[in-house]
Subunit: 312 residues, 2 copies
């Protein structure tokens, strides 16, 4: 039976490379018992090395009651690992056939109802759950590297995933201290990777065309917009580019720059509907914070980041 | 005559809205005498309000010797302002005709040889310097909002700009405490805005298609890759996605994801030349830092950012 999200005690991490091992370290730090499985030779040593390397950072961020590296069990047999699961996080290499077969094997060995989540960077669960007998409990839970430090997890189901599974998984990750985006659309690359990938592709085009060097690209982000993005995302950032008029002023007056050749990505057509949706979204997100409040918040945040990184 | 970069005493800021006013505050904090000019009604009051609002942040970051808000002079007559300049920073609205005329007016009134820099977000100086009698001294010096906090300035000349002007301006901004990218290619949007714009356009497409909400887009960045970008730019970030093999392993093994529909921006073709240029760039940028060093640096940085923002 599926436990309640707050009743999960044992997490099975199937695949313990950089991402899966990062999950192991994170779940241990939150006080879970973790069973690690990976078919690679020397996997257990590499996993314990990774957990040891991450532990000082996790300790600095604060361990949950009962958190202990001794709660890690390495289990070389997949069915024996899955049999113990209250929750499974799969982090195998990005190979669709491999993930299809592995999820089917996990499904066959995991107690009824227990949720099986995949770290896939971009495959749709619809395409991965095809061989499972119980696809309703399979879901994407996409983390960011390193999973033990970056809070974001994107949760999205496939066509055969039960809506309850998405809700359960979102709640489980929230209780485990993660920042969760529960998506109701299955989009390749989810959200953050799509945004990151657009930036990355433009960067590769610029290098290919001799327009910028690798070092210039990195410096342009770390010393430019990258300093604002931990504080406000791209939408609230541009909300402030509109002065007191906010996003409405920004779109109405600077909308034409969408037609400028500022990237190789053609812009969305700025229909009245899109304009209104973006403005309304910024207003919702800002809540009762005025433009002045948000400017002060951004400035405090950027200063804090600069000082934290020894750059002020 | 053009002063040496270290001899600049008086900076003229032509246009003192959000960006120009931010420049005024920044130059005051670095100990310069600043002459502000703006044709808008009530511009002086708005400028002094903006400088007062920014001053606590600038004080916290550390004022230069002699920095004083009393060093701000507001001058309603453009030629009278320009006559005093050791350096001019133009921050008029983004309107090409307006900027062409204004730069010509500034050029006519500014002492011989003194550099005239434009804050334009994306126009090429080639297109803006057309009406100037002395276009060789005109250059783009593109800041990020707010210019008093974000270090980045992108410096690039137009077809008629003297190479010396680009070198002088880069040195001046560096002496003034800025982080400078001197570009040798004139590309619309320069570097940071192209990368930022690609991300923004993908975000707008996602809202238009109902794939993500404004709030989800912002959260996906602030709680995801946005936490890494003040520490490492997009290239070094993916250098670490390749494990010990770095960017070479990343491109050789995950290159096929460039063909995935993870954004609406078509990818650059990963030719051997592009692959080698990106790998070599990452190796140059990493210098003598090993992958382990960079991972530790990233982890320390992300933790510092999380703690600085009260999120750890």
């Amino acid at each position: 039976m599926r436990p309640a999200p707050e009743e999960v005690r044992t997490v099975v991490c199937a695949g313990t490379g950089v991402i899966g091992g990062g999950w192991v370290a994170y779940f241990l730090s939150r006080g879970f018992r973790v069973v690690g499985w990976d078919p690679g030779s020397g996997a257990e040593d590499r996993l314990r090395h990774l957990v040891d390397a991450a532990w000082p950072a996790l300790t600095e961020l604060g361990l949950a009651d009962g958190a202990d590296r001794a709660n890690l069990v390495y289990e070389p047999d997949l069915p024996a690992a899955c049999a113990q699961a209250d929750f499974v996080q799969e982090s195998a290499p990005e190979d669709l056939d491999l993930k299809r077969r592995l999820l089917a094997d996990i499904d066959a060995a995991t107690p009824e109802g227990v949720v099986i989540s995949s770290s896939t960077s971009g495959y749709a669960m619809t395409d991965m759950q095809t061989e499972c007998t119980h696809p309703g409990r399979t879901v994407v839970g996409h983390p960011f590297n390193p999973p033990y430090l970056i809070p974001l997890v994107e949760v999205v189901g496939g066509k055969l995933t039960d809506p309850d599974t998405v809700a359960w998984t979102s709640e489980f990750f929230r209780l485990a201290g993660k920042s969760v985006i529960a998506m109701d659309h299955e989009v390749p690359g989810f959200i953050a990777n799509r945004l990151q990938e657009a930036l990355w592709r433009e960067a590769l085009h610029m290098v290919a065309a001799g327009e910028a060097t690798v070092e210039q690209i990195d410096l342009s982000i770390t010393d430019g917009p990258g300093l604002r993005w931990p504080v406000h995302g791209p939408m609230l950032t541009f909300h402030l580019a509109g002065g007191q008029g906010g996003m409405a002023h920004m779109l109405d007056h600077f909308g034409p720059s969408l037609l400028s050749p500022w990237t190789r990505l053609e812009a969305a057509e700025l229909t009245p509907e899109l304009r209104d949706a973006v403005v309304a979204g910024c207003d919702r997100e800002a809540g009762d914070r005025t433009i002045d409040d948000l400017v002060a918040e951004r400035d405090r945040g950027v200063i804090a980041v600069l000082r934290a990184l020894g750059r002020a």
